[in-house]
Subunit: 239 residues, 2 copies
DNA sequence: AAAGAATGTTAAAGAATGTTAAAAGGCCAG
DNA sequence: CTGGCCTTTTAACATTCTTTAACATTCTTT
């Protein structure tokens, strides 16, 4: 990884183009997306490859999907990637909300491109050493179970012996993966729906409930594992 | 390293004291130095030990040795420690110079302490790979009862035997957790409402009263436990 | 002591979730 | 192309959670 790749998401064509040119001039490779949904598609396509992004610059106000939601989804796929918000709003609530979503920094418009560059460097300097931790984790430990998300395989191991094994369907595996990433934390319903079913509707939500029941059955043999419901919010995998 | 240690360098006694108290309140251990030379001495003395600092907050304008020079010297001793500048000057030249000296961030006075905290957390999260938000304290002792907030499980133990067990709902658990954190202190109604129900309205307050009744029922079997009401203020868990 | 507000308690209503089974959709071998 | 098999969605019914309503009691103020 010699070239640093930036995902820039900005709907203002003017600013987007200028920033892109500036960053390219400074030796970065920049991909520019115009809205939140497009951005997430681009991000996912590049993820895991040799060509995955090193840093995200996200406008907060975007068409189709706002920057904060986008950040949450990106972090779901890659927990470590640095994220900087570009925002016209300077209200405290917003900045705090942004940091909660896992931002590393933010810039309030209008900003100096030099300062942006300095902040990017400060963050990249810190995140480079961990760069290999960026590689996507597809293996999870869940109580006695080992779950390989890419193989969609869930195995129970008791002193080295495989005592139980389930081949999961794609939907089962995707849901269990999201739960595993957020182990011991609440996975928001709407987030899971958008990640797996693409949109949050009543029927998809019911479908998800059916899958929760299935996962509970698979994991039943280890009583220390539980998928608990947080009423009105989502689910939490406890172990 | 369970406690995060901060080196705070600020010559304004007022601001220094306030910041220190705020950070201590938030669970950090803070050392306060008044000038650049003193600061560097304190830093060196703590370096290398188990008790070395995790982050520096440096005022730029300091007696005896300015913040930028101090930062350079500190970086000489420890290349990785995160540094945040506190500056009254907002001129671009200065901020750039600061970043060149190896800053991770800077705050222009006057700033919000909350925002400072958010930025500190963003930086610490990245520099402490082991920081795991899942492992906060969630176990409480309430009379004969043990309450695990993350598992939402309330058990009565009598000489090692579980004689009673309640799986709490999310709302029940959140409320009992707040009460437990403030054990033998008054938990303010409006605080609990904002934390659990997001806003303080008449109906949410009544809902909370219903939950208080439920918790009292769960805890009834140990007469040494009481949830008392402080009229017009809130509730207190006594035991 | 009386009035008004705050709290205590129970029950009912409505919404969310749990679970099972049947229907619909997709894929592949024959 | 077509029947069987697997996956996913929809339907139906059961259960649980939260809020709201209603009425009782307690507290504070006057």
């Amino acid at each position: 990884m010699s070239v640093t790749k930036i995902l820039l998401v900005e709907d203002d064509p003017n600013l987007g183009q200028i920033l892109r040119e500036y960053l390219d001039l400074k030796g970065y490779t920049t991909d520019l997306a115009r809205d939140g949904e497009q951005a997430f598609r681009v991000f996912q396509q590049n993820q895991g490859e040799d060509s995955s992004f090193d840093l995200c610059l996200l406008d907060v106000m975007l068409p189709k999907k706002d920057g904060f939601s986008l950040a949450k989804e990106i972090r779901m796929v890659n927990k470590n990637i640095p994220i900087i918000f570009l925002t016209a709003k300077s209200m405290k609530e917003d900045t705090l909300e942004g940091f909660r979503a896992g931002a590393d920094d933010y810039m309030t418009k209008p900003f100096s491109m030099e300062e942006l560059l300095m902040r990017m460097k400060a963050i990249l300097r810190r995140s480079q050493p961990t760069a290999d931790a960026t590689k996507e984790n597809t293996r999870f430990q869940i109580g006695d179970f080992t779950f390989d998300a890419s193989q969609q395989l869930l195995q129970r191991l008791e002193n080295g012996q495989v005592t139980e094994q389930h081949k999961l369907t794609s939907k089962e595996a995707e849901l269990l993966k999201l739960l595993s990433i957020n182990k011991n934390q609440t996975l928001e319903r709407s987030l899971a729906l958008k990640m797996i079913w693409q949109n949050d509707t009543y029927f998809n939500a019911r479908s998800m409930d059916v899958y929760i029941t299935k996962l509970r059955k698979y994991l039943k043999s280890d009583p220390s594992i539980e998928i608990i419901n947080v009423h009105g919010t989502g689910f939490r995998l406890m172990c």
